[in-house]
Symmetry: C2
């Protein structure tokens, strides 16, 4: 009933990029052609796949469709152009070329959307075409549409996401096996869960790009990668993981986007975080991703699934292709960029959070009092202290109540300079406890 | 940019029903008016709230807007009519009246959508209006839009849902406290998690309606409540829960919709199910809901959140109101019903599943062989057996490999008639194990 002329109508699709995701998209376009036609209201015909090396055979891709001339394919006026090359250039120029030629664009390019989404959105608006990028965050997990549409009547307060599979794989292994970071990284590389150069993942850069995109959607504000404070997992030690476990917590690399307490602004940050084991995010293991949303009316909502991989990412890309095609068939456009709220993106110091602090201190009278005073001096209230004497040195683990992040980090500075504090062994933010 | 004239344009909203959800919808329409206007592209003005008893004060609802004449309000031509009365009639007639008057309709009425969604969809089509019903399944959890749109390029194979908060609350308590069903039901009633007459929840009727809606969306097929085989939790004993726990499982009331092995049809069923504790659904506790989707390309995806309650349900309703309003502003309609696949809905006997069977048998030689033979006679392969002698009687717990449900239930019949089998103490389906 909703697809009266699917068999008569045909729309064209061009792929820029024929790697793991691209070849899966090509395969599904062919294998699921009838289903896709019924859902899109038109048959979807692949007109070309632009690749760097035309010589390499690609499973699922008709060799006749392969071209190395990405610019010509982008300019060819396909109904939907799918950009799967990654990186800023030439991806951006090709997308703009495609839009000027009247093509709707689907992209999985988180780096580009996070860095210069504004340019892409403006070009889509100007040329009356669609821009979809569901696959850019958390692979197969439907996120952008739920955030942008399903929660459109609600007020999002926080988004907590595990959005990088590599680091979650590593942290899960460290938790399960008590192993050290370097050891597990090597294992992850051997298994293909981490790249030979893992920097973008383990330093938090990849998660920061996704945090920017999520924050923009959730808070109707333009958020750029440069607005996000981020820290990776390279300094997380087996000792931190064990301490977390002892306290009933697990360490996750979280992307956090939240309203400031007075609702005047946003803070967007990525860092290793202690999460209670009872929190739904604690159960997200291995290479899985999940995004946890706290909204005023909806309460807590979580989306879970595979964050990467050829087929999962292709699933998200295909969903967007169908949406763009459906809009063509009905002569409309999907919702454009929504940045009306235009909140200020504040520095991480404005965040309100809790800290876990692990200190080695001199084991003599007055030290605990001095340490407690350092917290009090910065208006940071202590939730919990655990002290273990070990001869002339004592271990001291402090968990704080919520305070401004700037006050918490100033406290750490003060502790570092104290005579009685031999070393600050570990500092980590804590999220997801009751009452936050 | 996307909302150039939000301040100039006004759309009207009429509420049929002023109960818990309705008053939350009215409150949010008022309190979040500016945000909603920016997102919908028009200001949303509440024009009336139809209630049964006009005398009762309703928090958040302007008394001047309250009317007892639902028919007049439905016929009044509001841009969006929101039906929150529940039940089949007069809800259906009022929705049809509203559509004929040119109103788009948002409803949270699972019973009506499951029983006669076809009539509503046809009327929406005929009158060129929208029909949205996100709130009808799993309250605040965005589900219908992700299933219908985000996964539109993929092929869903199974949907496993915890879609009834009352029964999940009861089963969670039974698991946590080892308590009996009757005891926990009384507690749930005292806390307001179960109604005075809990039949619709505990007998699986409510979950079955939601299963029908989910199955229809996931498989592009019209599924009616009468197509769903369902069984509630009233026969789940503390003993079953303990046995599940011993084996590393937890019992959940699952709504299952899946392709038959040859993909020619669908099976839709609701029943108590043993789920491994390592499965993401096992961690869904208390009154929370979750829906787990297995799709060919996406792999495993899960949606989690509050399934009921005034504010969570209102969040879903508002999302739909904004979508319907946005379509009005841009002069389009959202995607209509998609039933092109038109799969046959098969009886539960066609399902492929695993069983857990708990037997009391005579403790004498040859009994295990006879029991094993009964399974073999029906081509059911045994995965695992545990026998505990207790004097002249033995406890025998059998877990099977996958087999057709009809073969499994025939096996149970055969066991019941065997001399050596004193009683069949527990039988339960098992889902979510590796390899299924």
């Amino acid at each position: 009933m909703s697809t009266p002329d699917a068999a008569d109508r045909e729309l064209t699709v061009a792929l820029l990029g024929g790697g793991t995701v691209g070849s899966q998209v090509a395969r599904i376009l062919r294998e699921n052609a009838d289903d896709l036609a019924a859902r899109a209201g038109a048959r979807l015909r692949l007109t070309g796949v632009a690749v760097r090396d035309a010589g390499r055979a690609r499973e699922g891709v008709d060799p006749d469709l392969v071209t190395t001339d990405a610019a010509a394919l982008a300019a060819g006026g396909a109904d939907v152009v799918v950009e799967l090359m990654g990186g800023i250039e030439p991806a951006r120029s090709l997308i703009l070329t495609a839009m000027r030629a009247g093509s709707s664009v689907v992209t999985a390019n988180k780096a580009l959307v996070a860095e210069d989404g504004a340019t892409l959105h403006a070009a889509a608006e100007e040329n009356g075409v669609d821009l979809y990028y569901e696959a850019s965050v958390a692979g197969a997990i439907p996120l952008l549409r739920p955030l942008r549409e399903s929660l459109a009547g609600d007020k999002v307060r926080r988004v907590l996401g595990i959005v990088n599979g590599t680091t979650n794989f590593i942290l899960t292994k460290m938790d399960e096996e008590g192993a050290d970071y370097a050891e597990v990284l090597a294992e992850a590389q051997a298994l293909g869960y981490a790249e030979a150069d893992p920097t973008a993942d383990v330093e938090g850069h990849d998660a920061a790009a996704k945090a920017a995109i999520l924050a923009g959607l959730a808070f109707h504000t333009r958020v750029r990668l440069s607005d996000v404070t981020f820290e990776g997992i390279t300094r997380v030690s087996a000792q931190d993981v064990a301490a977390a476990r002892d306290m009933g917590f697990v360490i996750k690399l979280l992307a956090v986007a939240e309203l400031s307490p007075d609702e005047s602004g946003l803070v967007v940050r990525v860092h290793p975080t202690m999460v209670p084991r009872t929190h739904p995010l604690a159960g997200v293991r291995g290479a899985f991703n999940a995004v946890f949303v706290e909204a005023e009316a909806a309460g807590q909502v979580m989306f879970y699934g595979r964050g990467a991989g050829g087929a999962p990412t292709a699933s998200a890309v295909l969903g967007d292709i169908v949406a763009a095609a459906r809009n063509r068939v009905s002569g409309t456009r999907g919702p454009g960029e929504s940045t009306y709220a235009d909140l200020e993106v504040l520095p991480i110091g404005a965040a309100v959070t809790r800290y876990y602090v692990n200190l080695h201190v001199a084991d003599r009278p007055g030290v605990l009092a001095a340490v407690a005073q350092a917290f009090a001096d910065h208006d940071v209230s202590i939730q919990n202290v655990r002290q273990d004497g070990k001869g002339e040195e004592a271990g001291l683990v402090v968990r704080t109540h919520t305070a401004r992040d700037s006050a918490l980090s100033a406290t750490i500075e003060a502790l570092r300079s104290m005579d009685a504090v031999r070393s600050v062994v570990g500092v980590m933010r804590v999220e997801g406890e009751e009452g936050r």
